[in-house]
């Protein structure tokens, strides 16, 4: 009896988590998977097993273009969050002397993220719009004759918004991995004649690679499914898979939206797996 109890205990302990995951993660995904094979005739959907939705997706130019556009957003956002996030994390962990200040300044970085995404996006509008502050300043200073159109409702605006939204997801893991680097390794490298550049290239960068990988996974998964920022900042101009799915849901094309969601999930998963292949992140966890 006692032995049976010992055997069962770990499973019981894992049960609540398993139920939560099953109910809120696995079940919805399975449901979407099922719906993606249903038929849709323009105004209603019927349970069936048809590949039409998928065939539609894979034969449509629009899908391909939208995916390319989404990858462009992912790539640019990744690049800029890395270019901004790494130096910030580096500064925090190597140039701020006391742990207390490091934590405090890191919290400072997170403060903008205490407000809702949408509010943060909307607050760009008066700044970047045709009559916005930036344009008024530029025209007023005589730097441009016409207000700059590309500032808002453009790919530029979308990437700006995405970087603004997600840069913290790059800073945090890189900061974490930089903080874990044993400082005597740097002294040792210097002792052996490494220059500042060599120390970075040979020691700091490889040891922070897991942090970069985790940050990249965050950015990829978050931006792949983005639609709010794309709609608000891109106006009607920019397209992403997330926005496409949202539009399809808006017009009640659930099976098609579901099929798109499954494809998006597969693509995102593939990207994440390839990042994990590149960098071993286990030691960070």
């Amino acid at each position: 009896m006692a032995k049976a109890w010992t055997n069962v205990k770990p499973y019981l302990l894992a049960t609540p988590q398993a139920i939560a995951l099953g109910l809120f993660l696995v079940f919805p995904i399975v449901l979407i998977g099922v719906v993606s094979f249903w038929e849709f005739n323009g105004y209603s959907m019927t349970p069936a097993f048809t590949l039409d939705n998928y065939i539609g997706i894979f034969t449509s130019d629009v899908t391909l273009k939208t995916y390319l556009n989404t990858f462009k957003f992912v790539g640019l956002t990744w690049l800029f969050t890395l270019l901004i996030g790494y130096p910030v994390a580096y500064f925090l962990s190597f140039h701020v002397p006391k742990l207390r200040w490091q934590v405090l300044l890191f919290l400072l970085c997170t403060i903008p993220f205490w407000t809702s995404n949408i509010i943060r996006m909307i607050s760009w509008l008066p700044l970047l719009g045709r009559e916005g502050l930036v344009n008024q300043l530029l025209v007023g200073a005589g730097l441009t004759q016409q207000p700059l159109e590309f500032l808002l409702y453009s790919d530029f605006a979308v990437v700006l918004g995405l970087v603004h939204l997600y840069v913290i997801f790059m800073i945090a893991p890189i900061f974490n991995s930089l903080m874990r680097i044993d400082r005597t390794l740097i002294t040792a490298a210097e002792d052996m004649g490494a220059s500042g550049v060599s120390v970075f290239k040979e020691v700091i960068l490889p040891l922070s690679a897991p942090g970069i990988a985790i940050g990249s996974i965050f950015i990829v998964t978050l931006v792949m499914g983005e639609f709010v920022t794309v709609r608000l900042m891109g106006g009607g101009q920019a397209a992403s898979i997330g926005k496409l799915i949202q539009t399809q849901i808006g017009s009640l094309q659930y099976p098609l939206a579901a099929a798109n969601a499954i494809v998006l999930l597969a693509v995102t998963f593939a990207v994440v797996v390839s990042i994990l292949r590149l960098v071993d992140i286990r030691k960070e966890l």
């Binding site: 044993d182 005597t184 390794l185 002294t187 040792a188 490298a189 210097e190 002792d191 052996m192 004649g193 490494a194 220059s195 060599s198 040979e202 020691v203 490889p206 040891l207």
Partner: protein
């Protein structure tokens, strides 16, 4: 700083790596001249002057916070000096960065690069010097062979045992052929058995390479067993520089006597000092509660506060109360509080009857057994003035 033609060595094929001529290079002496280090208002090292001759094994010994690591870091160039001069090979290196000082450092936790293989770790210093790949290959092979770890070349440091990691750290430090090797508590991460073994290896390699080794340690036994020269440090000062034998025989201060362990120390006032034939003085000390004790050393003025110490193994223990004065033989009556058999040696803890001061006597276990020592017994301890070291401060 030229680090090229004049630093070339015969190829390994002509000379087996076990021969000291392959790797050794004229070792360099190190000297500190009135070196002071301050962190803000805190003085870590004050006016430290020290000569470490070339080719010796020197240990900086002291409790934590005594400034020994700071001294090491100033010699290696990882810490700047506030004032004074650091000389290596007779040249002032104050302005030279660590990498240009012909020194190498072995770190306390080894500081092996976790993401690099053993091979890459050892190769690193040579790569940073810009040495061509073929030559690097030869040098790394040579040194890995020497530390007996050539088979681990492809592994990562975490796949090695503590002792192996330590040897790789040593190989990495030696591969650039430094003139001085600095070791920061190199054995503290190892367990006791391994520590004793690695001690032997360090000493062997130091002799083989003929290098100057400067090691920081708080471990007295380690310093005694490794060093040619021990520098005992306390509160940013040097208390004594001596060979292990000298240090063991004649500690220079109360601090040293206490730090090297187990000495019986008596504080008192100097009554008089009589010069002896050997140039030493015979000093008569008045120790409160005990009376006159005789010690040997360099005497100070009568009336000054001083102390004397005697090693626990130099006492003679006799059952029964102290016989009357047999000067210059010192005698003290004490009560045994504990008899501890530690192996070949038995440690006897006592309390001086007159003052209650704790005392320690060690003797061979066979002798202890023949004396049938027991807790609570009152005994007398005797020692000659020659074995009693006078401590001026």
């Amino acid at each position: 700083m030229a680090v090229s033609a004049d630093r070339s060595f015969p190829a390994a094929s002509q000379n087996p790596p076990s021969s000291s001529t392959v790797l050794s290079e004229a070792a360099a002496g190190v000297a500190l001249r009135s070196v002071t280090k301050k962190y803000g208002s805190v003085t870590a090292i004050e006016n430290m002057t020290l000569d470490i001759p070339a080719g010796i094994y020197c240990c900086l010994l002291g409790p934590s916070g005594c400034g020994k690591t700071t001294a090491l870091r100033m010699i290696s160039g990882h810490e700047s000096v506030t004032s004074g001069q650091v000389l290596i090979d007779g040249e002032c290196v104050n302005e030279l960065p660590a990498a240009k000082r012909n020194t190498a450092m072995m770190f306390q936790n080894y500081a092996l690069f976790p993401h690099k293989t053993v091979w890459q770790n050892v190769e690193f210093g040579l790569k940073m010097q810009g040495m061509p790949k073929a030559e690097r290959q030869q040098r790394v092979n040579e040194i890995l062979d020497l530390v007996g770890l050539d088979h681990t070349a492809k592994r990562k440091p975490h796949q090695l045992s503590g002792g192996q990691q330590q040897r790789i750290a040593l190989a990495r430090a030696l591969v650039t052929r430094p003139k001085v090797l600095m070791l920061d508590e190199p054995l503290s991460a190892l367990d006791e058995n391994l520590r004793v073994r690695m001690r032997g290896e360090l000493r062997k390699i130091q002799k083989q390479f003929g290098l100057t080794f400067i090691q920081v340690t708080h471990h007295v036994e380690e310093a005694f067993s490794l060093s040619d020269q021990i520098v005992v440090m306390n509160h940013g000062h040097i208390d004594q520089v001596a060979t292990p034998a000298e240090l063991f025989k004649a500690p220079a201060s109360k601090f040293v006597a206490r730090f090297i362990g187990d000495n019986n120390i008596f504080a008192g006032k100097v009554l008089d000092a009589t010069p002896q034939a050997d140039g030493q003085d015979l000093i008569k000390l008045d120790v409160e509660g005990i009376g006159a004790l005789y010690a040997t050393g360099n005497g100070t003025q009568p009336g000054t506060e001083a102390a004397c110490c005697v090693r626990p193994d130099l006492l003679t223990l006799e059952r029964g109360d102290a016989a009357t004065d047999q000067s210059p033989l010192n005698t003290i009556t004490a009560r045994i509080t504990q008899v501890e058999l530690t192996g070949f040696v038995t440690r006897v803890a006592l309390l001086a009857t007159a003052t209650g001061q704790p005392l320690l006597h060690t003797l061979r276990t066979v002798d202890a057994q023949s004396l049938a020592l027991q807790e609570g017994q009152t005994v007398s301890l005797k020692w000659s003035a020659n074995d009693c070291v006078f401590l001026a401060h």
